[in-house]
């Protein structure tokens, strides 16, 4: 059981990073960014491109891939988000989903259907807890997550830029009047969200079957559930929600593996953890749509 919880925390970190991007884009554009997870796949593809095809050193490739992903986010904001500024939010949502599909298609085209293998930042085991080996990669993931949790908290609460971002999302007209460029804020938000997605994707890639769309396939709904549970308007909520969902899912996994093998009807059903998360999402939306720390539904 402990193993499952540890895995849950590690996955929770990845989910939390994605959830953070979701909260950010929601605050910035009042939309659900269905491409958030796909930014992760895109970054991982860039990583493979820069480190294996162009043969840059791994860490350099990492940074360049991140920058490239940020650029993709920036482009997306320019080409899609901005023109749809006054469109119904569901229209923009469908556009983000369309973009995710486009990205997956391009990945298929460029990468082919053979699965890639992305090496981690550093091989090896960091520490052994119980029967589980926590790899260095996983440790780095947790570390980055923790640093971002603290750092972003400080950034949005104390720095001028961070406060400007929040102000823009809450009161676009007023902030425009005060002199903060909402257009630049919007570009920043989407680029940064793409970077967050990229970090999540590149940290996760070594641990997953790396195929086109893998981040969307495995994490999009988890990330959204985490964002909703944490509170769609709460940045801290995204971190909390991420960890919660990560652990919850692994606990469900544990219960499934341990008990349901023998259960009469349920034992045949695959994807119990996914089902549990879905039920949780529905319940939260029915009972407390603004989540734990959010301020609006």
């Amino acid at each position: 059981m402990l193993t499952f919880i540890i895995i849950g925390i590690i996955q929770g970190a990845v989910i939390g990073l994605l959830a953070l991007g979701i909260v950010l884009t929601y605050k910035g554009a009042k939309v659900f960014n269905f491409a958030q997870a796909e930014f992760g796949t895109i970054a991982a593809f860039f990583l493979v491109l820069f480190t294996q095809v162009i043969s840059l050193p791994y860490l350099v490739g990492w940074i360049v891939a991140l920058a490239a992903t940020g650029a993709v986010g920036f482009l997306f904001e320019r080409v899609v988000v901005r023109p749809l500024f006054n469109a119904p939010r569901v229209t923009l949502l469908v556009a983000t989903a369309g973009f995710a599909l486009l990205a997956i298609a391009l990945e298929l085209r460029i990468g082919g259907t053979t699965t890639q293998q992305v090496p981690p930042i550093a091989e090896g085991v960091l520490v052994r807890i119980g029967t589980f080996n926590v790899t260095i990669q996983q440790g780095i993931t947790l570390a980055i997550f923790a640093v971002l949790a603290v750092g972003l908290n400080y950034f949005f609460a104390k720095t001028d830029l961070g406060l400007a971002v929040l102000a823009t999302s809450q009161e676009p007209v007023a902030t425009e009047l005060v002199g903060i460029g909402t257009k630049r804020m919007s570009a920043f938000i989407w680029s940064f969200a793409a970077v967050l997605g990229g970090v999540a994707g590149m940290l996760q890639a070594p641990d997953t079957i790396f195929e086109p769309g893998f981040m969307t396939r495995n994490f999009l709904l988890l990330a959204f559930t985490a964002a909703v549970i944490g509170g769609i308007t709460s940045l801290q909520g995204a971190f909390v929600g991420g960890l919660l969902i990560g652990v919850f899912r692994q606990i469900m996994n544990y219960l499934d593996v341990t008990y349901l093998e023998e259960a009469p009807i349920l034992h045949g059903i695959p994807g119990i953890p996914e089902l549990a998360v879905f039920v949780l999402l529905v319940v939260v939306l029915y009972v407390r749509p603004k989540g734990l720390l959010g301020t609006e539904a």
């Binding site: 659900f32 023109p83 119904p88 229209t91 556009a95 599909l101 396939r217 045949g268």
Partner: protein, 351 residues
């Protein structure tokens, strides 16, 4: 308030004002006949290409497009998990014929009912949630269908999926193509009659302004669910046709990519435009088959067209075809109807 029936009878001819004369109708009917003839002829065109097989899938996609349109176009809802309904129809249809030995037509009924049930479950949620949150739930619903329900061993008998025999007498691709065409005719008929009757108008009204709709006596709860049921039934029928067309049904088909494809072909086709949806759906089905090595390019072109439609041309293909379709139905050759885009009714704009 009593209607002065004699006076009313005097007014009825006004309904025919501006309509074409006998010759005008003849030309239009001839044009419509030519188009229908062209479509009907395609499966039996000579040559090496498996056109009949392509047409079969094209027709199936048209039914799905009409199904999605009932929800997104007419009712102003969101559906990012529509592949779930088609999948339910496909699996239930397959099981009906393969495992329970039902005749094909009965399997279609079973599939339609199953699709309707799957849809109404979502419909109940849609009564409570809307907009972004509903979109999220539909996406989640679709994913659960793909990852959980369609993988239950009792249903699928293992990962390989369910093998399906074609109905007796319909083994050839040509026969399947015509079978699908018949059902497309049925679907088009239902959509046409729907929008000309009180149910369709009620659904449209609740899309634009739910409170006003209630104020004229429309039970919006009933009609919202009605839209889901009809949409689900049509999707189920499409699934029941997909099973014999593909000769097998497996879970992997019904993924996020398919859900998006369905949405985008309806949006690109133009919400509420049967002609546009027909063309777009057939295109998105046939193009990947016809240009196999360019399948990837369709996955690329598709979203690009979607983005273009959402940003620039909310009316989609339907809007471009409008002069022609207006003429065909007895109007002038002009852009009469401006088109609504996705979720243009109700609470949609930026707060």
């Amino acid at each position: 308030m009593a209607i002065d029936l004699a006076h009313a009878r005097n007014l009825m001819p006004l309904l025919d004002e501006g309509k074409p004369d006998a010759r005008g109708w003849m030309t239009r009917r001839a044009a419509a006949g030519l188009i229908a003839a062209f479509v009907i002829i395609t499966p039996i065109l000579p040559g090496n290409l498996p056109i009949a097989s392509w047409v079969g899938l094209g027709m199936i996609y048209v039914i799905v497009g009409l199904s999605v349109n009932v929800l997104i176009g007419h009712a102003g809802q969101v559906s990012l998990g529509h592949q779930a309904f088609v999948g339910v129809g496909a699996f239930m249809g397959a099981l009906s014929t393969t495992r329970w030995g039902l005749p094909f037509l009965l399997s279609v009924v079973v599939a339609a009912a199953s699709g309707a049930i799957a849809a109404i479950l979502l419909g109940v949620v849609a009564l409570r949630l809307s907009g972004l949150y509903l979109a999220l739930i539909t996406l989640a619903y679709g994913e659960i269908a793909e990852k959980v329900i369609f993988n239950v061993p009792a249903i699928t008998g293992g990962g390989a999926g369910v093998l399906v025999n074609r109905p007796a007498g319909f083994e050839s691709n040509v026969a399947i193509a015509y079978l699908c065409m018949i059902f497309v005719g049925l679907a088009l008929f239902l959509d046409w009659r729907l929008m000309k009757s009180k149910a369709g108008r009620a659904i449209l009204a609740l899309r634009d302004n739910e409170i006003a709709a209630r104020s004229v006596g429309i039970n919006t709860t009933y009609y919202k669910l009605f839209a889901f049921v009809l949409s689900g039934a049509l999707a189920g029928i499409a699934g029941a046709l997909l099973a014999p067309w593909a000769r097998s049904v497996n879970a992997a088909t019904f993924d996020f990519k398919l859900a998006l494809t369905f949405v985008l072909m309806t949006a690109v086709g133009g919400l509420q435009s049967r002609a546009g949806i027909f063309v777009a759906s057939a295109f998105f089905a046939i193009f990947p088959l016809a240009f196999n090595q360019f399948t990837i390019y369709v996955l690329i072109i598709g979203p690009l067209l979607l983005l273009l439609t959402l940003i620039q041309f909310p009316g989609g293909m339907g809007q471009q075809l409008r002069p022609f379709t207006n003429w065909l139905t007895g109007g002038p050759f002009s852009m009469k109807r401006e088109h609504a885009g996705i979720s243009s009714g109700g609470s949609g704009g930026r707060p």
